[in-house]
Structure formats: structure tokens, C-alpha cells
Symmetry: D3
Subunit: 160 residues, 6 copies
């Protein structure tokens, strides 16, 4: 197992130098799941048939958070993202699944942007619904796929 | 089950008016768990015996994120936090558990600050270790306890 | 006509000292109008009958901008806002009217927050629709009402 | 009339994918007008003959806001701007006209940056002068010209 | 010599809990000095007799930075500042002295806000003049006075 | 001595147009020194042998500040930094020296990013230690080296 790339020799953290890496088109996909009571999910779904809705607020929060990633995760690079997309579906039981996809043309990848977008979208769902369901749990935040970088294509094996 | 408090009558989102709520001391505790390979956890633990370390970067990222909560979660209120504390322990298997506690003296609570701190600390752990373990999964992000508000004391039942 | 309160004696700008002013509940209301082609307004209205919609994105942008006011307007004070509300209606012809209301319990007022929310909501409408109507014009950004401060109640005379 | 480009098929908002667009030099010009009492304009002009001045504060606020555009307008792209310029003139009657020009070398244009700079500069003028003239109105925020993109050159017809 | 208050028992950093401290009016004053070539100082002074000027840009940058202190210094508290003031004078030889004063009504002091304002104002002077004098040095950034807190009045002994 | 490049002809500040400059790899190095009491330095050094430590917090604050430079220094360009590195050593007497290096592939240099990183790291050291040593002074903030731009290589002559 190789070294942790964010820690320099003496154990000091640093932002990894990417200046020698090629500029390529890179895509990352991630997900998060919010488990809640069935009545909460129903409430979200009913609202979303009307005008304003929990999912739209969550979606925008996720997109905006993707753009703030380098200011949240200390050692991330600032990247001029080409695209951010966030989708929702139900994930079995009373679970809401959030899937994000981020695209960039740059020297480093956008895993953290995709994961941050998923996390903040999930936190926003919590915030919107916490008055009715404090027990909601956010989980399964993970990278689904990553392409375009030097380390090759990565895709998580379907398991769950 | 009551209405979602962030949506006004016509379905439009709004920031809930808290001006009639009393200023009280409020505390919230939350957690997140990062599941990883045993070798990754060992690497984090070894590093943390040296100087720089993954956990310290994650801790600072979480504290700083707590202060940015109102700019990440669209309908949250800006709150002048009194304290933010973040602790780590292992959670069984190759899991790292993050526990956060946020304190404020204000008209509304800090659940979202505690949850955001936990989430961003977990994302930072992912970022610091992703070069060796892309498959890490963040989960169990949830509120543990909340006190000081009008709605009374909330404590999640111990279950897992 | 009195002095401009943001400029100190020697002509230097400064953030006005509000520490002697009383903490009171303060409210400000503002508006903005976006003039567009009738077909653009129709498109906004049709979308808003579906799920995602221009107005909801604009609303959230305005709310989030209200919270960023002190970081946009150089001499504004950071204020822990109690509430932000944004409503839309049509304003005669093919015009969309945006009305904002901001509430705070603080030593200074929230006119700038109300005006900033209206402006950024309007800019977001432009951004969402610019692919179909580059000629849209934003206007009539103005303070409608202000209460709770030392200078008394202000309400703009109805004129237009 | 074509589709609104920020809304995906199911009505969900997304950040438009620009990764297939060519990197070109792009320029946008915008304007805003602040209508005020003649005595207010005189006060601004007299100050500007001295040292500190309303226009310089407004200019800097506009420039800094241009750089924050992607964090204010939810679906805008982060762009490494090459230049931002802001000029002032009087616009007939007691009106102050603000003209902005933004330049970038990127995959998408800077209309929103130019419009945001103009809006925030105008809001700052309001903030600096509101102690003497609460009735000021900001208007005529609009795109004047846009060049360098795939959609060709756009210039607003002179009308007013 | 007492413990460093930002490090909890196990060596972990945390944001100090100020919830038990009284809300009082607190003031801090700080300074910074920019040493430069005489010709550079002359250039700054001549410009400042005209319209735009280096000092005004630096002043605004310092004021805005004071408001961002909690987002720059990881363990600082967010504070709703009552006032920020920045003055300039020459400090002997070809040196520009910057003095800042920050006021707040809060549970903790504003030393870091005063120091941050001075530092960023000085950095801005460097940025504005670096095309003519890369060798400028910023120094003597230090706290001059602090009042209103539990630890009593602090005033640096005049020495230099 | 040439003109100050940030001021346009009429004395108005503007962000310099860099669109005609070539994209090259650029590096800047800067330093800052924090003078303190010997007991304070000992305390920092002892802590750094343990787990959490002042230097690690300062390092991260400096790295994150480098990424915020364009939002702190009004006329700086937003740059997608390739790398940021921060090192510490003692500088004779009871002084802590901070050295920063920033790398970018862009149309303009990163002097301000290197200087801002050094300054904010130094301010963070002050914040972490101010409970034991309010008299600490930050000084010698200066550019050490700059390469890769049109103006050629710059290296400060060793003097101190």
C-alpha cells in the first residue's frame, strides 16, 4: 500500500503538486442515501408534486457546494468545473438516494466535488425535514465511478 | 405529522422566522463513521503518532465547516457559535467514528452545524486517504443529542 | 442634507460604529422587477407548474445572498438574520416582480440584505433565462419599507 | 423559442455541461443606473474630488463581486477572469450610470459576471448614500454586449 | 505560563467554549508597517492626492478581511463586529504604517480581527505596488491595545 | 519607475487584463517570521512532538488562505493553484520562520498567494498562542523568489 499523497516527507500536510499532470477531461460520480420514516418520504414526494420542494433545494445546495469544495476540504485544488448534475431516486424502504456527477477539464479529478455535492444535498434534505423526523440518518456516501485520470478508470463493484 | 417548517404556504421555501424564539444556550451532538480497509486505518493511526496527521486535518476542516454551515445549507441561520469540538475513535472493525459537539447562545439550534462538521471531517478523511483506498464509505451521519431549544431535549436511543 | 455616514472626517471609508445603538427587532422590505419578453414569462410560468423551476432557484439564490450581504457590500455589518422571505408576482406587461422581506434583532437595519436578496434573485432569473432572452432588463430595485430603527419607520410612497 | 438551458429534462436544475465548448476569449459589457436626488449626486461628486469616495468603494465592491459570481448565482460556472473594469458616468438627470466589462479565456461567457459587478456596485452606492437618500432606485441593469462565444456577437440596440 | 487555550487535553485543537463568558463591549487595536523604496511611497502619496488610490483599496480590503477573520483563522469565533476603522500614516523613513481598530459587543475579543485587517491591508498595498517595488517588506504586525475582556486591559509598552 | 499597474488612466482601480499574457508555469516563494518569548516557542515545539500542534493548524490555515487570495486582495485574479507548500523552521532567537511556495500554470503569477499563505499562517500562530504571549510580533513578510513570468526570474538578495 502506497503512501498517503497529502502528507509530505516530514509528516506535514501539503497540497499535492499537480503541475506535471496532463489536462484531461475527468468525470466522477458519487452517491449518498438518506434513511427516513416512510411518512417523511411521502411528505417529500407530495411536496415535489407541487411547486417548491425539498429535492430542488437539496439539488441546488449540492451544486453550490460542489463549487465550494476547495474551500471546505483543506487540501483540495480549486477547479473550474464544467458540469454538475444531481439526481434523486428512492433506494428501497423509506430511503432517498442522491446521485451526483461532476465533470472537469483539469489536471486533477473531481471525486471530492462529487462526494461533497452528495453530502451537502443529503444534509439539506435533513435540514428541510428535521422538524418532522430528527432521526433521519445519512449514509452510503461513496464514490461510484471515476474516469479520465492517470490512475485509470475506477468503478465500484455493484454490491448493495 | 406536522408541516415541513421550511416551506411557506404556497410551497415556496423560506428561512423560518426565529425572531420570537428566546435566546438560550443550545447544544447539539452528531456523529459520522468512515468505513475503510484495515490497512488504511492503520496508516491513519501510525501517522497520528507522528507529527502531521489525517485526523488533525479532518478536525480543522470540520470546525471550519461548522462556521460555514449557513452558507452551505440554504435555509440555515447564521449563528455566532460559542464552541465546536470534534473527537475521533474507532468504531469496531476498520471504522473511524467522528463525534462533534457544537454550542451556541441563540434563537435556534445547531443540529446542522454539528452534522455539517461531522460530514466535512469525514469527507476530509476520505480526501486524505483516497490515494490508497478509493472504496471508503461514509455513513451513519446522524444527530445524537440536542438540548436547549423550545422543543425540549432530544437524545437518540442507543441502538447500534 | 446630512453627511454620508460611511465616510470618516478625512474622507476615508470606515464601517460605522453601531455599538451605542440599541438592539431592536428590525424589518426591511425591498423589490426588484425583471422585464422580459412575454414568451419568456410564459416559459417561466409553465415550468413552475412542473417540478424544478426558475422561481425556486431564484428564491434560494436570493435567500443565500442575503446571508452574504456583509461580504458583498464592503461597509455592511455582519448580522445574524432572523428570517428571509422572497415572493414573486407579475408586475404588469411581461414583468416579474420580486419582493423580499428580511428580519433581524440587532443594532442596525437590514435594508441592504433586502435589496441584495432582490438583486441576486433577479440576476438568477436572468441567468436561468438568458439562453432564450438576452434582452431582459432588471430594474426598480428599491427599498419599500423599513422599521425598527432609531430613524423611525420608513415607507416608500406608492407611486408606480 | 428554445428550451431554458439550465433545466434538465425532468425539470431539474443542473449546471450546464460546457466541456465540449471551445476555450475562447470572451468579453461581456453590462450597465446599471442609480437614480437619486440631485443633492445626493452632488455629494458623491464632491467627495470624489477629495480622497475617499463612494465611487471607489463601489468600484471595488463590483470587482470583488464579479469574482464571487459563481457562488452567488447557483448555476454559474467558476471562471478564472482575465480582467474586470468598472466605469461611472452621469446618465442624465440625477442618475449615476455604471458600466462594467469582464474578460475571460474560457469555455463559457461572462454575462453574469458583468451583470453581477454592475448590480453590486450599484447596491454599494445605495449603501454609502442611504443615510441621506433612502429613495434611490437602481434600474436598467442589462447586458450591453457579448462576444467570443459560439452564439456569436450580441450587442443591444441603442434605444434609451 | 499557562496552557495554550486552543488545544484540548489530548492535544486536539478545538474552538474554545466562550458560552460562559459575559457579553461586553470589546475593542482591539493593531498595526502593521510596510517598508518600501522612497519612490514607491511618493507614488502612493501622489496618487492619493488624485482620485483612486492605493490606500483606499487597502483600507477596504482590510475592513472586508476583518469580517472574514473567522473563516481564515481556523479556531476564531464568528463575531458580529460593531465597527472597523483603518488609518494610515508614515512611520519614519519610507514606511507606511497601518493602524486598525475593531469594536464588538460579544463574549470574546477581536484581537485577531484587528490583526487580520492590518495584515490584509498591508498585503493589498504590496499587491498594488508590486509592479514597481517587489522588495517591499511587511512587518511589525502586532497588537497595540485590547480592552473589555475578562483578562483586563492590555496595552503594549511604547518601545519603537 | 513605471506606473502602478492596478490603476487605470483616470486613477480608477481595475483588475489588470492578463488575457494577452502566455500561460506558463509560475512559482513564488515567500516568508514570514513570528517573534515570541522563548517559553512560547518551547511550548509550540513541545506540542508538536505530541499529536495536535500549532504548526499543523497554521499550515492548514495558510494553505486554505492561499486558495482565498483573490477574495481577500481586491484586484487579484482567481487562479487554479497547482500546489501549495508551507514549511517552518526557527529563525534565530525565539523566532519561528514560515516559508511558503505556491505553483500555478496560468497567465499571471502567485506572489500574492505565497505572501497571503505566509501571513495567515503567522496570524494563526498568534491566535493559537495569544493566551500565553500577547506581545508576539509578525514581521519580515516578503517575497523570496518568483519565476516563470514575463518579467523574468526574481530572487531577493540574501541579506538578513
Amino acid at each position: 500500500m502506497s503512501e498517503l499523497s497529502h502528507l509530505a516527507d516530514a509528516g506535514a500536510s501539503r497540497m499535492v503538486d499537480v503541475s506535471e499532470k496532463p489536462v484531461t477531461r475527468r468525470i466522477a460520480r458519487a452517491e449518498a442515501v438518506v434513511e427516513m420514516q416512510p411518512a417523511t418520504l411521502a411528505l417529500i414526494q407530495d411536496r415535489s408534486l407541487a411547486k417548491g420542494d425539498v429535492l430542488e433545494v437539496a439539488r441546488l445546495a449540492g451544486i453550490m457546494a460542489a463549487k465550494q469544495t476547495a474551500h471546505l476540504i483543506p487540501l483540495c485544488h480549486i477547479l473550474p468545473l464544467d458540469a454538475v448534475q444531481i439526481d434523486f431516486d428512492t433506494a428501497g424502504g423509506a430511503s432517498l438516494r442522491i446521485e451526483t456527477q461532476v465533470t472537469v477539464t483539469a489536471r486533477t479529478g473531481v471525486e471530492m466535488e462529487a462526494l461533497t455535492a452528495a453530502s451537502v444535498a443529503a444534509l439539506t434534505v435533513y435540514d428541510m425535514c428535521k422538524s418532522v423526523d430528527k432521526g433521519m440518518t445519512i449514509g452510503r456516501i461513496r464514490l461510484l465511478e471515476k474516469s479520465g485520470g492517470r490512475s485509470g478508470h475506477y468503478e465500484r463493484e455493484p454490491q448493495l
